[in-house]
Symmetry: C2
Subunit: 338 residues, 2 copies
C-alpha cells in the first residue's frame, strides 16, 4: 500500500519520538535546535504534510464507521456512551454513513477486531471511546494509517495536540466551574466536592474546576479545601457514605458539587434536600430528583466527531474560521439548573 | 429472484387473509371446512413448507444484522433497549456476526431504509424492537421475504403464532405475578398497581399479572381492585402524583407494584419507605434506591433472537427438544429482591 508519510515515519527517520515530532510541529520553541533541524530534514525528505496526514476519512468505500460497544455498566451515568451512540448514529445516518458495532473483551482483542474489520474492507473509520493513558489502540491505528477520532482526550500525554490523533472531548473542568459558581452565586461558601480517587484524567479535570473556582472566589485555605475534597468510587452507595461524612465536617458544608449523577444520587439519598447538590451528566435520575446537573452536550460531541471524520476539514490543511486547532474540539458543557 | 413461497403467497392464492392461513396451520379446528380446504389446496399447489419459510437467515452473505437505534428517551427505563443492544452485539460478535445500526424518523422512513440496506447487500437480517399493533414494517419484511426477528410480540393480533413472524418477548404478566406474589407473601393484602393507561399491549399484560394474582390470592372485590388500579404516563413526576393519590385511598394500600422503575422512583420520592414498592426493569435506579424490581433477562432475549435467526433451528422444520413452538420465545423474567 502506497500511503502518505505519517508522524511515525518522520519520528523513525529522525530517530526521535512521535511526541518530539509533534512538538516540532506545534511548539518548536521548546525543542532543542539540533533536534528540531533533524526533524525538519526528515519532514522535508519524506514530503510529510502535517495536516493532510491527520487521521481523517479520505475515501468512502463502504461508508461505514465502526464503534465499539462497551459492556453494560451498572452506573447511573453509564448510559452516557449509549446516548453518545444515539447522537452519532443519527447524524451519521443523515450524512449517508452507517455505524457498525463491535465488541471486544480487552485491548488486544479490540486491536484484533480492527484488523478483521479492515481486512474485509467493511469499515472506513473508527470512533473510539473510553480512551486512557497508554492506549495501545491509538498507536495501532496511527501505525496502520487508519482514520479515527476519539471521544476523549489522550490523557497522560504531555502534548494533546498530536495532529495524528483527532479527538473531541467535553471540558469537564469548565463544567465543575459552572456548578461551583452556581452554588456560590446562590450564597454557598463552604462547597464540598464529591469525586473519584485521583489518577483518572476525567475525574482530576472535574476536581480542578471545583478547586480553582473555590480558590478564586472564596478565602478558604488550602487545608480547608483538602477537607472538603472527597474521593469515592463511582457508586451511589459510596456516594451516600461520603455524603454522610461530608455532613460531619465542622463547620458544615453548605453545598455539594459532584463528579457524577451517581454520586449526587447517593448524596441526595443520604442528606435529603437539606443541602444543595449539583450532579454531572444530566441523567434522567437528576431530572427525576430535581437536581441541577452539568449536561455534556453529546449532540455537539457527535457533531464534532463526524465533522473531523467526514466534514469540511477532511484532508484539508488549516482549520475552519475561528478554530485554532482544527484537529481537536473541546465542547463546553452547560449547567441545567433545577 | 426465485424464492420459496410464503404465507402471503398462500393467502393470495386462496383468496384469504394471512391470519386465516396461519389459523389453518396452527388451529385448523376454528376454520370453516370449506375455507380450510381452499387453503390446503393452495399450500399443496405452491409447495409451501410452513416451517422452512419462517423468516430465518438462510445465507451468510455479509454476516450482518441491522438494528434500528431509537431516539433517546428521557425515561429511566428507556435504557432497556440499549441494554438489549449490548447483549445482542456481544452474542452476535461471538457468533461471527456484525450489528449495523440505522436510524429512521418514522415507519415509512424505516421501510425505505430496509430497501436501501438490502439493495446494497449490506445486511442479511433485521432485528426489530418496539413492535406495535398494525406494524407495517412486519408486513413489508414478510412481503419481501427478508429474515427478521422482533423483540416484542405482535400485539393486537388474534394469533401470535404466525410462523412467518419470529419473535422473542418477555412475559410481563409473569413478572407482575412474581412482584405481587412477593409482597403478598410478606404480609401485604391491599396491593396497588401503578401502571400505564389501558391500550398498550405491554402495559395491559403487566396489569393482568397483578390483577389475576390479586383475584386468586385475596378476597378483594372487583370494585376494590379497580380503586387500587392506577394508570399514569411513564414519568417519575406522574408516578409521584399517582403515589400521593394511592396514599389517600382508605383503607390505605400496604404495597405498590409498578409497571416500571420510573413509576417506582416517583412513588418512592412521594412516599419514602413507608410502603413497600416493587419496580420493573431492574435499572441502576432500582439498585440505588434499594427497591426490588423485575429483571427482564435481556441476555436470554438476545440469545433467543440469535438462536431464531442463525441458531440450530435455522431453516429446519420442527423445534428443539422441549420447545413446542420453535418460532417464538417467551422469556420468563425474575424478581430481584432487595
Amino acid at each position: 500500500m502506497r500511503r502518505q508519510p505519517t508522524v511515525t515515519d518522520v519520528a523513525s527517520a529522525a530517530g526521535v519520538s512521535r511526541q518530539t515530532v509533534s512538538n516540532v510541529l506545534n511548539t518548536p520553541q521548546i525543542v532543542r535546535a539540533e533536534t528540531r533541524e533533524r526533524v525538519e530534514r526528515a519532514i522535508a525528505s519524506l514530503h510529510y504534510r502535517p495536516h493532510a496526514s491527520a487521521r481523517r476519512l479520505r475515501t468512502r468505500q463502504s461508508e461505514t464507521i465502526a464503534v465499539r460497544l462497551d459492556p453494560v455498566t451498572d452506573g447511573i451515568s453509564g448510559s452516557l456512551l449509549d446516548r453518545f451512540l444515539h447522537a452519532l448514529a443519527e447524524r451519521a445516518g443523515r450524512a449517508g454513513f452507517r455505524v457498525l458495532l463491535y465488541t471486544a473483551a480487552d485491548e488486544p482483542a479490540e486491536i484484533a477486531q480492527f484488523g478483521r474489520l479492515l481486512d474485509g474492507a467493511d469499515v472506513d473509520a473508527f470512533v473510539l471511546t473510553s480512551t486512557h493513558h497508554g492506549d495501545t489502540r491509538i498507536d495501532w491505528l496511527i501505525e496502520h494509517d487508519v482514520p479515527f477520532v476519539t471521544f476523549g482526550r489522550p490523557w497522560g500525554v504531555a502534548d494533546m495536540t498530536d495532529p495524528e490523533h483527532l479527538w473531541v472531548d467535553v471540558d469537564g473542568r469548565h463544567g465543575l466551574t459552572l456548578a461551583t459558581g452556581h452554588v456560590l452565586d446562590r450564597g454557598a461558601r463552604r462547597v464540598a466536592f464529591l469525586g473519584w480517587p485521583a489518577g483518572s484524567g476525567t475525574g482530576d479535570d472535574r476536581r480542578a474546576g471545583w478547586r480553582s473556582t473555590m480558590e478564586a472566589r472564596t478565602d478558604l485555605s488550602r487545608a480547608e479545601l483538602d477537607v472538603l475534597d472527597l474521593a469515592v468510587e463511582e457508586d451511589p452507595t459510596d456516594g451516600s457514605i461520603a455524603a454522610r461524612l461530608v455532613a460531619t465536617i465542622d463547620p458544615a458544608p453548605d453545598a455539594i458539587v459532584c463528579a457524577s449523577d451517581s454520586l449526587a444520587l447517593g448524596a441526595r439519598l443520604a442528606l435529603g434536600d437539606r443541602v444543595p447538590i449539583v450532579g454531572y451528566d444530566d441523567t434522567p435520575v437528576a431530572r427525576a430528583l430535581g437536581l441541577s446537573s452539568v449536561a455534556q452536550q453529546l449532540d455537539e460531541v457527535a457533531e464534532g466527531v463526524l465533522d473531523l471524520l467526514i466534514g469540511a476539514h477532511r484532508g484539508r490543511a488549516g482549520g475552519a474560521e475561528g478554530v485554532d486547532d482544527p484537529q481537536h474540539r473541546l465542547v463546553k458543557p452547560r449547567l441545567v439548573v433545577r
